[in-house]
Subunit: 298 residues, 2 copies
């Protein structure tokens, strides 16, 4: 295994401040290198962090589809290129894995977000699910949402912690990041030394699509998440159950498939993306040997 | 009693969206006039609401000290003048009372904020505390913070509901505003008709000052609220108890008076005001007959 550098990105969104703080605290108290793996730390979007906003011109975490964005230039497009030039697999400080730390205003607890079905990602996600029991949101096949940061590395996951308000320092949220940063290399080391095996199966929640708020013709939101639905991330929604509440007090009911678990319910940053929540379906995936062999050959 | 109009302001801060929604819902479902009292509704800062930001140029809820701001002009200063010209006591639609609806990211529950010790405000606050048991934050004697909206009306209070993230629609938070808007006129009507008496005493938490985060020389926050302090609004803090946690993992301890209850702990919007939390002291105030007589002569 040649894997000896992991990139830890915080502040990819400038108003998600707890991971930035967690990294500051980690760097002061812990070894940057452990088990022969070095952590490289970078603030994804330093200017947005300084201003306390999600981004300056474009959502940085949708800027890593370099084919699609060919020729485009602004603060975030340029920043995406720079991050890959500096820490990408062909750079002078090549990191095989990127871990991107995020927070959400949705009541999702701590979760892992993975993009597509790469064997190496499955291996890392399985390691973390095995250790912490975290739910996994598998994002795939969404033409409206592409170019996530971790996709630009051979292996990479998002750690998503909520609920916490944008720009609100919450030491409990900070701690949840610290636990994962602390233990990640130990788990990799155990796997490398054949001290643990991956669980036989991985439980993932697979992205099915998203639903927007009811809106007026002018685009204004015309219905909010229903009181029975708010904060119920990961919970099954059944046909005929309340979804939204409009300003006349009328309930708008869910009329879809019965195997759906919504996530990112009411996430503030997704209002502009026309997403009130995303729908997922639970799927059990059997572990494959290639997950480990490909991961250990990183 | 000549009181026949109450001004209900929402969206004084443009990223506090739940009161705006509560008012929309209320207007669709309820009578604007009840018990001979008409509600006038206004969005405090419509441009900031549209943009989802607290304010455009200045915090509107610090722009109502017209002597201090004489000659100053920007979006919020002009808006403050316009609100008073339109709904002030000398306007064509004079409102005797202003109720300003706010949310906080701090874990304060629902509370009443009053500014200074006006008899009429005491009466209204006592009515609401009597009905709902709400804590009262009495803000006074703070030279850094003046010119609150409700001070420009003969009587007025802030209703503050938390915790909720900025720009996050939470139907439970919306409901808390609806309950108060619904019942306010009934309580006033009962008082007017001698059907209820004020409680003999009013419990208030009196503002003593504020404390900033530990900061680096360049102004960056260098310590966050301690895990044992976060979300502990209204709870006594004792000398020697943890206050902040710096990035080296060192605890900074509280070293002040033992009768202090912090509020607005970690409020996001106050970072720029150099406030990590405000200190209050509990005080019991005996009700006075003038409270009612002055209120009923509004």
């Amino acid at each position: 295994m040649t894997l000896n550098k992991i990139l830890i990105v915080s502040g990819t969104h400038g108003n998600e401040i707890n991971p930035v703080w967690a990294v500051k605290q980690f760097c002061k108290q812990n070894n940057i290198t452990k088990n022969n793996i070095e952590y490289k730390f970078i603030i994804g979007n330093p200017l947005a962090c300084k201003k306390g906003v999600r981004y300056i011109n474009s959502d940085l975490n949708r800027c890593f589809d370099f084919k699609k964005n060919l020729g485009k230039t602004n603060y975030e497009f340029d920043r995406a290129k720079l991050l890959v030039e500096k820490f990408g697999i062909r750079s002078s400080e090549p990191c095989a894995i990127a871990i991107d730390l995020h927070t959400t205003t949705a009541n999702m607890g701590t979760s892992i977000v993975m993009y597509g079905r790469r064997n190496k990602d499955f291996c890392l996600a399985a390691l973390l699910q095995n250790k912490f029991g975290l739910p996994i949101y598998l994002h795939e096949n969404d033409n409206n949402q592409k170019g996530f940061l971790v996709e630009a590395w051979p292996c990479g996951l998002v750690i998503e912690v909520g609920s916490v308000a944008q720009n609100f320092y919450d030491p409990n949220i900070v701690n949840r990041f610290l636990v994962i940063i602390n233990d990640l290399r130990d788990e990799i080391n155990k796997l490398k030394n054949n001290l643990i095996k991956l669980p036989k199966e991985l439980i993932v929640h697979v992205h099915q699509g998203s639903v927007d708020y009811p809106r007026e013709k002018n685009g204004c939101i015309n219905g909010i998440i229903h009181p029975e639905r708010i904060n119920q991330d990961w919970v099954h929604i059944k046909k005929g159950e309340p979804l939204f509440l409009d300003k006349n007090g009328n309930t708008i009911f869910y009329n879809g498939d019965s195997n759906i678990c919504p996530v990112f319910i009411g996430e503030v940053a997704y209002q502009e993306k026309n997403i009130a929540m995303s729908y997922t379906k639970k799927e059990v995936i059997f572990s494959a040997e290639e997950w480990v062999t490909e991961f250990l050959s990183l």
